[in-house]
């Protein structure tokens, strides 16, 4: 039996009641007011002091009222549970413009799973009969009709593959490894799909793209349309049931399959396959010295920075932490291990960037807010669809931060972040190039193979799954 949002909210009651309204969750680096930084920078969205704690909840920054910062929402959730507040359109309109970026949960020393709470609150709100906002209703209708929120035709989902000469991988029956492409890379950022599939081909991976793939459901889990999301989940679980390893190029899809599906699947059921992002494979092959990169004159000396997508970064970090907390018998002792595991996780894309610096000659420079404290790109949580101006202003704030370190190229590993950052980059004239790291590797033909990887290399689990 599928769970309702209200049931999830009830399950989270004890977490909600942990909140002491301390507001640490407003800031990045909330415990480090005198952290050294790069100083003040006047960007397109105003002046920000990249030092010490920095306001980092995009919803709070945009709307100002306490209700839009995380702590306010947690107390709204509590008021709903205690009957002090009922779901209304007023409630909906403060809980929807939140990017579910998880900045807040990363800051909370009571380890409150804030994103889980906000998403359950939204689901319970919609279930209670409060209508969705118009733009969310539209994508919900589209996905129900067409299995994707962009209004693309089902038969055109993998047109990019055929056009790029990669058609043989669609429904490649004997492959145990699949590439889940996702809607954004299939219908919008097709360069992400093409470069990822080409990279797999170059590495010699025998993989399949499954023709019955549908939207992963991410936006619908996020906006509270959990019935829709669960229908999509069931279709995907059926489509991918014979696969051993599932690769992703989209942070959101990866997060949804790995974190959301098990949460919403019937009690006791597990995912039938392992999951990982393509960048994890590349980083692993670098560490095993199976691949390196060729020098490139065009890229040499270019300042490259990296935006951690919330869905591959914080969401996984917080999920790993919650898992380890659940399993720990002595958290005082295990807490160091948790920190190390999270640090190791955040290093994965950086292994590639450092190698690119070493071999290609790019200059890799970190922004001020990175890793657990990274600032969101503004696209997630149904915000890009529902509140486009807020979404783009947030992306521009992030572009300001990249400008502050003099970046020529802003990289990321999520087509959705890519889209939003790229749009803000154009709209607000930030003057950078926005691209995926894997896209950079294929587009500039940087791959230099030292030893051909074997099938086992492709089936090696993610470091997330290694104890």
């Amino acid at each position: 039996m599928a769970k309702t949002g209200m049931e999830r909210l009830q399950e989270l009651k004890k977490e909600i009641f942990k909140c002491i309204h301390c507001k640490a969750c407003k800031f990045a680096y909330s415990g480090e007011p005198d952290r050294e930084g790069i100083g003040e920078y006047a960007g397109k969205q105003g002046t920000v002091l990249y030092e010490g704690m920095v306001d980092a909840c995009p919803a709070g920054i945009e709307y100002g009222w306490e209700a839009f910062w995380n702590a306010g929402k947690i107390w709204i959730a509590r008021s709903i549970l205690t009957g002090d507040l009922e779901f209304t359109e007023e409630v909906r309109d403060v809980i929807m413009p939140c990017i579910t970026c998880g900045q807040c949960s990363a800051q909370c020393d009571n380890k409150i799973p804030t994103v889980d709470i906000i998403e359950s609150l939204r689901a319970a709100c919609i279930e209670s009969g409060v209508p969705m906002i118009e733009k969310h209703e539209l994508v919900d209708r589209l996905v129900k009709e067409l299995n994707n929120p962009y209004g693309g035709k089902a038969e055109e989902r993998f047109k990019w593959a055929k056009d790029a000469g990669l058609g043989k991988y669609v429904d490649n029956k004997d492959a145990k490894i699949a590439y889940y492409v996702g809607c954004t890379a299939s219908y919008r950022q097709i360069e992400v799909a093409i470069t990822t599939a080409k990279l797999f081909e170059l590495l010699g991976m025998n993989f399949t793209i499954i023709g019955d793939e549908v939207c992963c459901g991410s936006p619908f889990f996020r906006i509270g349309a959990v019935d829709t999301a669960q229908e999509l989940m069931n279709k995907n679980l059926e489509a991918f049931k014979n696969v051993k390893m599932l690769y992703f190029s989209c942070a959101g899809c990866y997060r949804t399959f790995t974190i959301d599906y098990p949460k919403w699947m019937p009690e006791g059921e597990e995912l039938p396959f392992k999951t990982q992002h393509a960048f994890e494979l590349v980083a692993r092959l670098i560490q095993q010295e199976k691949i390196k990169f060729k020098p490139n004159k065009e890229l040499k000396g270019k300042v490259v920075t990296y935006h951690d997508p919330c869905h591959t970064g914080r969401h996984f970090a917080v999920d790993m932490e919650q898992d380890m907390i659940r399993e720990s018998k002595n958290l005082l002792i295990d807490s160091r291990k948790i920190k190390e595991k999270i640090e190791e996780w955040y290093e994965v894309p950086r292994i590639i960037l450092r190698k690119l610096a070493e071999d290609v000659g790019i200059v890799f420079k970190e922004m001020y807010r990175i890793k657990l404290d990274s600032m969101c790109c503004g696209a997630g949580g149904g915000v890009r669809a529902g509140y486009p101006e807020f979404s783009l202003r947030t992306a521009s704030l992030r572009c300001d931060e990249a400008n502050a370190v003099g970046a020529d190229i802003l990289t990321t590993e999520c087509p959705f972040c890519w889209r939003n950052l790229s749009d803000a980059n154009d709209m607000y004239n930030h003057g950078m190039k926005v691209m995926g790291i894997l896209q950079m590797i294929t587009e500039y033909n940087l791959l230099d193979m030292a030893e051909k990887p074997k099938e086992d290399d492709f089936l090696t689990p993610s470091i997330r799954d290694i104890e």
Binding site: K13, K14, E15, F17, K18, C19, I20, H21, C22, K23, A24, K26, F27, S30, G31, E32, P33, D34, E51, G52, M53, G64, W65, E66, A67, A71, G72, K73, W75, I76, R78, S79, D84, L85, T88, E90, V91, D93, V94, I95, D109, N110, K111, I325, S328, K329, N330, L331, L332
Partner: protein
């Protein structure tokens, strides 16, 4: 006392004063200000929230609300939990002062900073770290960075300098207050239009002292001048462990009583018992047995001396003196000499203890779901008695006996803070907390101990019942400043 339930006309009046972006009765927004934790468990959702930016706006709001008999609860950042929320129904207007966030002046010669209510301790600390690194504000060491200097002033909190320089309330020199009749009063030397805030006790009897500790029940403070202190480069932390609170109390008093040249350098003298470490982790995921903590090198009780000095030589002198006195105490006067021993700290541990402000006191909700600080003042040489009795009572009610104790003004007073970690999802736990609170309050008042930040339901009424004459005059003060009793009614059981 009866108050008006604000209606749309009242909201319109607020909008007329601050603009429509900054006044609302949107139910989702008003509910988001709620807190039932940290200091107070009972609180109400405000009917209207207003976010003024200027003193003149506050003046108009107060005049209006006073005339209409609408309750007003001022909040700087609201980190005092339930205490920052309205206490009665109709809850009235909550004044969220976070938009008034200017650091107006830092004067390192006269050694003060002037700030507005919304300036957080994190912001002021960071600002001074960058611009006047040799000076630092007396911020509450344990309060989260988002709390404000102003909120702490009105609370008369405990700061990182309190052990050395004296009660935190004494660190606030002058204030600017808007009273409900719209008068703006500047206190101390500030009463004169061109005077610097250099002297607290200006013209005759001091009005400012009545505002300190008023918790929003008298008027709205719109500016405060706070002393700043040297922030020297040489720092360390000494920790001496022991097995019981009496040895902790007696050794600390010996050091504090030295005053000159040693106790003045110990800016923060604070300690506690091992459950203070234990209760920062989930109840079912940390050993409760002391043996585990012993293996980690944690004593049953301990005291930290955070020492600051202008030179390494001075720092060495202070630390050697403290260590020497601890040795001497162990040899000659300790109840349990074998247990008195220095705790070796890794440089990383020292660095983390020196970090200001920090999030150290946040995770007590991790134990179950919610916590309450209940804080008392005792003469220093009675703090062990307090701790022993309170810990036993906490255990009797099924709570972990978490106790934090710090010295104020070189052991003239002790601030003793039991942390009640409980499951706030359970009504039965609330009742247990309140029963325990009542029992301990009755006991403590008999010993002559004072509650600090008294809650309006237990501490304040029980205390006032024993201090009738003071209570009479307190009510007269309230009536004088706030004749319609609109300011944070119920808080401090006033009216």
């Amino acid at each position: 006392m009866s108050y008006k339930l604000p209606d749309d006309k009242d909201l319109e009046a607020m909008v007329g004063i601050v603009g429509k972006e900054y006044a609302t009765n949107n139910k989702a927004i008003t509910a988001s200000y709620l807190a039932k934790s940290v200091m107070g468990l009972e609180s109400q959702i405000p009917d209207i929230v207003v976010r003024p930016k200027y003193v003149e706006e506050i003046r108009k709001i107060l005049i209006y609300c006073s005339a209409e008999k609408i309750a007003v609860s001022p909040v700087s950042a609201g980190l005092s939990g339930g205490f920052a929320c309205p206490t009665i129904k109709p809850a009235g207007v909550l004044l969220d002062l976070s938009r008034m966030n200017r650091i107006i002046e830092i004067d390192t010669e006269n050694r003060y900073a002037v700030v507005e209510p919304g300036v957080t301790i994190g912001e002021l600390w960071a600002y001074m770290h960058k611009n006047t690194p040799d000076w630092a504000p007396p911020i509450p060491d344990g309060a989260p960075p988002a709390s404000t200097v102003m909120g702490d002033a009105i609370d008369r909190g405990f700061s990182l300098y309190t052990s050395s320089v004296g009660p935190q309330g004494d660190n606030f020199m002058c204030g600017e207050i808007v009273f409900p009749n719209g008068d703006i009063v500047r206190t101390g030397s500030w009463a004169l239009p061109f005077a610097k805030p250099f002297y607290k006790y200006g013209l005759g009897p001091d009005i400012w002292s009545t505002i300190m500790g008023s918790q929003g029940a008298l008027g709205v403070v719109t500016k405060v001048a706070v002393k700043i202190f040297p922030h020297p480069p040489y720092k360390t932390v000494i920790v001496i462990g022991m097995s019981n609170p009496y040895d902790m109390q007696d050794l600390t008093l010996e050091i504090g009583k030295q005053e000159f040249g040693i106790a003045h350098n110990t800016v923060m003298v604070q300690g506690g018992n091992y459950p203070l470490v234990m209760a920062r982790w989930p109840k079912d995921k940390v050993p409760h047995d002391y043996e585990f903590f012993k293996e980690l090198g944690i004593s049953k009780w301990w005291m930290n001396w955070e020492c600051w000095a202008q030179t390494q030589e001075e720092l060495d002198y202070v630390t050697n003196r403290i260590n020497k006195m601890a040795e001497d105490f162990k040899k000659n006067r300790a109840k349990d000499p074998d247990a008195v021993k220095p705790q070796e700290l890794h440089p990383k541990q020292i660095a983390s203890r020196l970090k200001k402000p920090n999030k150290i006191a946040i995770p007590y909700s991790f134990w179950e779901a919610g916590f309450l600080f209940i804080t008392w003042y005792t003469p220093w040489n009675e703090c062990a008695h307090f701790a022993e009795n309170y810990c036993a009572t906490m255990e009797k009610y099924g709570f972990p006996p978490v106790m934090w104790i710090a010295s104020i003004e070189r052991c003239r007073q002790a601030i003793c803070m039991p942390i009640i970690c409980f499951d706030s999802t359970k009504q039965s736990d609330y009742e247990k907390v309140q029963d325990m609170n009542r029992e301990t309050t009755e006991y403590n008042l008999k010993q002559g101990w004072l509650n600090y930040r008294p809650d309006p339901y237990i501490h304040a009424p029980l205390t006032y019942s024993q201090a009738g004459m003071y209570w009479k005059y307190l009510r007269m003060v309230k009536k004088m400043f706030d004749p319609n009793m609109i300011m944070h009614p119920g808080r401090l059981a006033l009216p």
